[in-house]
């Protein structure tokens, strides 16, 4: 352990200093969302939490997160009681800003601790790579942009996820890992996307015997079953008792939204939409019909009305089936080989599948792929080869989240700093694979990373200088299409690595 410098704690201190300096930075509506939740949970009885709608930003996270907000509101009361009034919309006194921003930093300590455990629990030969991977997550530009500027509590939530993944490493703590994940689901339901991997892993590795799948460990199954029921009971039980479940579910799963989010997340549907846009100009020459109503809708990117001019419409059911299909494929391997490394790979691939094929995916969900992948990216050089384009694409795709001039240098320079630092460090730390690497993939990722530089320049500076305020959708479309290529490319690359190792 003597050689692991800088330590996680040292990085956390310096990162915290930077994050505190970012207090006055731009904050999105998510800041008001969370302030509103503080107010709701603090000033209303629990029965009203999921019915309150004074603000348009209603409570749409599961009950544990509401409890988390309630706990925070106990401190908020001391800082500035004005922020806890439900009708006090858009309230952002400096006390409120300082309090909410510091609460993000303070709860992120969970992530720091989880990463520490991750390094501790990794085998001696992998300590150095694991340490580098842990630092890359701690200093992730994704978390910086989303949590500390845009405003959310992902550091805390992903901290719990990593904690749970680390617990899955040892047989003795597998049960705790499963229960912690259940609790995480009750904090934010986006992690349902990863649940299939957990299900298969716990089933095969914990409830069934190592030799034969017909050897059921009833004791373990009972412990896990009752534990999970207890966790969910604690979260949803009261609402079942009050008969509020339909209302709660309608808040958690707003299916009325469209296929693509306002900014296209860089997934298959972004490529699909891009192709459709291109086809609008090409289709007449090919003799294809163009739906004129749709021509102006996608570009505006308004939530809920994505429709295609040339290509067939995509329904929620289709996305669901595709997601499940691409999740099941890696899960078969996990079922046959329930080791920790395969488990993390399967979690990553579940994240990929849901991000790439899901309905109304938010670009922030890319963390669902990047963070688990980081844990095994340094396993050998082939993993790293698949990770590289993801690291570039995933973070570049977050740039449109921040569009103010003052934050532009922070998001770009910080991301470049992180990419240079960690891609160079990873390159030195990742051991060579004992299988030959895929030549094409390496060249692809180099070319891909090179393209990002003119792209960022165009989207952030050149476009405005050339076009002014018109064609505002173009930089967004380019960014998400570019990133989509990277994410899909890294997904294909990782699938190959996953199944051949």
């Amino acid at each position: 352990m003597a050689d692991l410098y800088p330590s996680i704690a040292q990085c956390a201190v310096v990162a915290t200093a930077f994050k505190v300096l970012l207090f006055p930075a731009y904050k999105s509506t998510d800041f008001e969302v969370h302030r509103n939740w503080l107010a709701i949970t603090n000033s209303l009885p629990v029965q009203d939490w999921y019915y309150e709608k004074t603000s348009e930003w209603t409570l749409d996270y599961p009950p544990f997160f509401a409890v988390f907000e309630w706990i925070l509101s106990q401190f908020a009361k001391v800082v500035d009681p004005e922020m806890l009034k439900v009708y006090n919309l858009e309230y952002d006194s400096w006390q409120t800003v300082y309090f909410q921003r510091s609460s993000v930093i303070a709860t992120e300590l969970v992530l720091v601790y989880a990463l520490y455990l991750f390094v501790q629990s990794s085998p001696a030969a992998f300590k150095r790579p694991s340490h580098a991977a842990a630092l890359s997550i701690l200093l992730s530009p994704g978390l910086l942009i989303i949590d500390h500027i845009h405003f959310q509590y992902n550091g805390f939530l992903y901290g719990l996820l990593i904690f749970s993944l680390v617990l899955a490493r040892k047989k003795s703590t597998t049960l705790a890992s499963g229960l912690l994940f259940a609790a995480l689901l009750c904090l934010k339901h986006i992690y349902l996307y990863l649940a299939p991997a957990y299900f298969v892993f716990l089933l095969r590795g914990y409830c069934l015997g190592p030799k034969s799948i017909f050897h059921v460990k009833f004791g373990n199954a009972f412990k896990l079953g009752t534990g999970i029921i207890a966790v969910f009971g604690a979260a949803f039980g009261p609402f079942v008792y009050w008969g509020q479940i339909p209302q709660l579910l309608s808040r958690l799963f707003p299916f009325s939204r469209g296929l693509c989010h306002a900014y296209w997340a860089p997934n298959i549907w972004a490529m699909y939409s891009f192709t459709d846009r291109v086809l609008i100009y090409v289709a007449p020459k090919l003799g294809l019909a163009v739906n004129q109503d749709a021509v102006n809708s996608v570009t505006r990117g308004l939530v809920g009305d994505t429709s295609f001019a040339v290509l067939p419409e995509i329904t929620a059911k289709m996305t669901f089936i595709l997601t499940l299909f691409f999740q099941v494929i890696p899960l078969i391997k996990l079922f046959l080989d329930p080791t920790w490394d395969t488990f993390i790979g399967a979690v990553t691939l579940c994240g990929y599948a849901s991000f790439l094929f899901g309905w109304h995916v938010h670009e922030k969900a890319i963390l669902l792929v990047i963070i688990p992948f980081s844990l095994i990216a340094l396993k050998d050089r082939r993993y790293l080869g698949a990770f590289r384009p993801l690291a570039v694409a995933g973070h570049v795709s977050l740039f449109p989240l921040l569009f103010t001039a003052a934050e532009f240098p922070i998001k770009t320079i910080y991301t470049i700093f992180w990419l240079v630092l960690f891609l160079v460090a990873f390159d030195r730390l990742a051991p060579a694979s004992n299988r030959s690497r895929i030549f094409l993939l390496d060249r692809f990722s180099l070319l891909y990373i090179a393209v990002s530089i003119p792209l960022i320049l165009y989207c952030s500076l050149l476009h405005q200088m050339v076009w002014g305020k018109s064609f505002e959708f173009l930089p967004l479309m380019f960014t998400s299409s570019y990133s989509a290529v990277g994410v899909v490319g890294s997904w294909v690359g990782f699938l190959v690595v996953f199944f051949t190792s």
Partner: protein, 599 residues
């Protein structure tokens, strides 16, 4: 499980030059034994060393330098998100408005009016290079949004995009001047002392993360780093033996901000020294003199030519006088001797006005509360009761007394490695005893003193303790200035961060652990520093939670000034002592070399 066969890097690792200047015994492990290096017992002595730890071996400076520059740039920009001086503070606003206003007048008015225009509203009172710099920035900014620098109507403008532009101009100016100069200086200084590149990188980061410069330039708002950068360039030219270039850079620094005069005596003494010792070198002396004069001439030429041209086309420098001649601002009693209609009169008029604006002799001994001798003395003796003539003479005498020893030493022993300490000594002397000192001027003595980190034993506990002490004390004396514009949080974050990185109090007391044989000087340093740190800590608590008594509303600031003055006096003595020791004038054994204070 796959065995971790260590991946062999494609590029051959460079061998780092191990010098005697490294504090941590960094046994540079060769690239092939990377896995075995984990068994070495060396470990970083402070967090900044830990951050650069992975770069100890086989990382070229071209990999580490961009990362350092990006990281320090990020901290600068993030700090710039906070408010600037005068933000939402009408009617006069602050330094930010002054700088913006200069961009306005230099881009919108004929050059001959720059130093005359409406002096009540932030009239230009910096030397010409600042004016040209403002003109350049104002021209660029005017292309982006003409309303930012529109004449008269843009006063006190608080457009958030303008703020971004202004912040960017500070960063860009710094990255074009201060940062390259610092990089080159650190490289030359460390090469001169045989310090290895890894230690040089640590020193560079420490210098660039100095809380004082970030807080004043990037948060409070000014362009000090341009002047400081030019002085750094002048220093590194000296290290490279290019004396003419050092004159050029130094004159440019003077031409940007007259505060560079704090360094001038030491610079002059050094350059004079190299002309006299070891043997008299007349050509060098003449060259230096000629280059200095030529640079001054080129610097002033645009203003003078512009004034002649404006006079020729009938543009009046003071339109508000409707053509009536006004006496010169200085030597007014001799004004009658001057022919107001001579062709050369505009030049005399401009020169007199620049001197009058740049050197405000008419103002008092000190303006605000600043941690120098006069302001501290004022607490005990009311200086207002004395004639200002007498005070100015006393100030002149004391300043001369304070700078003479340092200048003398560097003159008779002109060793280039001692230049930073000589500059620091004279700058401390000026800061403590000259008149019209501003609290921000403490950046001047700090800059060369911090540069000592890149020198021999620069990162040793003793030097880190002293340089850290000076820096932390200096930002502490600037706290009243910063908290007036609600900059407490950036103040605490940046100064604590720097203290943390260098392992200094209040985050760590490891610099005061004496390994080996404890010495009396080490013990004295520790006691002295700890007393100051404790006072600073208590002061912060008192300032935050206690109201000063009614009859003494300025009590906290006065205490700050008093403590700061004593501390800076000690820093002055430390610099002077080390300068004397470094020049070899005093025979000293190695252990005494670390001796901090004369008494």
């Amino acid at each position: 499980m796959v065995g971790p066969s260590p991946h062999r890097p494609r590029r051959k690792a460079k061998k780092t030059t191990t010098g005697n200047g490294s504090e941590v015994s960094s046994v540079a492990p060769s690239a092939s034994s990377r896995s075995s290096s984990s068994s070495s017992s060396a470990k970083p002595a402070y967090p900044l060393a830990a951050f650069l730890w992975p770069a100890r071996s086989s990382v070229s400076k071209w990999e580490i330098l961009p990362l350092i520059l990006m990281a320090v740039g990020l901290f600068r920009w993030a700090a710039g998100l906070w408010g600037y001086s005068g933000f939402q503070n009408p009617p006069m606003h602050g330094d930010y408005e002054a700088q913006r206003h200069w961009m306005e007048i230099t881009t919108k008015l004929p050059i001959s009016q720059w130093y005359f225009h409406d002096l009540e509203w932030w009239g230009l009172d910096y030397p010409p290079l600042t004016a040209y710099h403002s003109w350049l920035l104002g021209t660029i900014g005017g292309l982006i949004d003409p309303s930012w620098f529109a004449l008269h109507t843009s006063r006190g403008l608080e457009d958030p995009t303008l703020k971004v532009f202004m912040r960017a101009t500070v960063i860009v100016s710094e990255y074009l001047i201060y940062v390259p100069a610092a990089v080159i200086l650190v490289r030359r200084l460390s090469k001169h002392h045989g310090v290895n590149t890894w230690n040089a990188a640590v020193a560079l980061t420490a210098i660039l993360m100095q809380p004082g410069t970030i807080l004043i330039d990037h948060v409070h708002f000014q362009y000090n780093t341009v002047m400081l950068g030019l002085v750094l360039a002048s220093m590194s030219s000296v290290l490279a033996g290019r004396f003419m270039w050092s004159c050029v850079f130094f004159v440019l620094a003077l031409g940007f901000k007259q505060m560079a005069l704090y360094y001038a005596p030491a610079m002059f003494a050094y350059l004079l020294g190299v002309c006299f010792f070891p043997r008299i070198n007349v050509p060098r002396f003449l060259g230096i003199a000629a280059v200095t004069l030529a640079t001054f001439a080129i610097l002033l030429l645009p203003i003078f030519l512009g004034a002649l041209y404006d006079a020729h086309r009938g543009v009046d420098v003071r339109p508000e006088l409707f053509g009536h001649p006004a006496p010169l601002p200085i030597f007014s009693e001799h004004s009658f001797k001057i022919n107001y209609s001579a062709w050369y009169f505009p030049i005399i008029q401009q020169a007199a006005q620049i001197v009058h604006r740049v050197f405000p002799f008419a103002r008092g001994l000190f303006e605000d509360k600043v941690a120098n001798f006069w302001c501290a003395l004022n607490v005990i003796i009311k200086l207002r009761n004395y004639p200002s003539e007498l005070l100015q003479q006393a100030s002149l005498l004391l300043t001369l007394a304070a700078i003479t020893p340092g200048c003398f030493v560097i003159f008779i022993r002109p060793r280039k490695e001692n230049l930073p300490l000589a500059l620091a000594t004279t700058a401390w002397g000026f800061f403590l005893f000259s008149f019209q000192v501003h609290e921000k001027s403490v950046l001047l003595p700090l800059m060369p003193m911090t540069a000592v980190l890149a020198g021999n034993h620069g990162l040793s506990k003793n030097v880190r303790a002293w340089v850290g002490f000076a820096n932390l004390l200096a930002v502490w004396t600037m706290f009243p200035l910063l908290q007036r514009v609600d900059l407490r949080i950036p103040y605490f974050v940046l100064s604590l961060l720097w203290a943390y990185l260098l392992g200094l109090p209040p985050t760590s007391f490891s610099v005061y652990h004496q390994d080996g044989n404890p010495s009396w000087s080490g013990f004295a340093t520790t006691t002295l520093h700890l007393i100051f740190y404790i006072i600073m800590g208590i002061w912060h608590l008192a300032e935050a939670f206690l109201l000063p008594p009614h009859e003494k509303p300025d009590l906290w600031v006065v205490i700050n000034v008093g403590v700061g003055t004593i501390g800076f006096g000690i820093c002055y003595l430390w610099c002077l002592w080390n300068l004397v020791v470094g020049s070899g004038l005093v025979e000293s054994s190695k252990s005494e070399k670390r001796k901090a204070k004369t008494q």
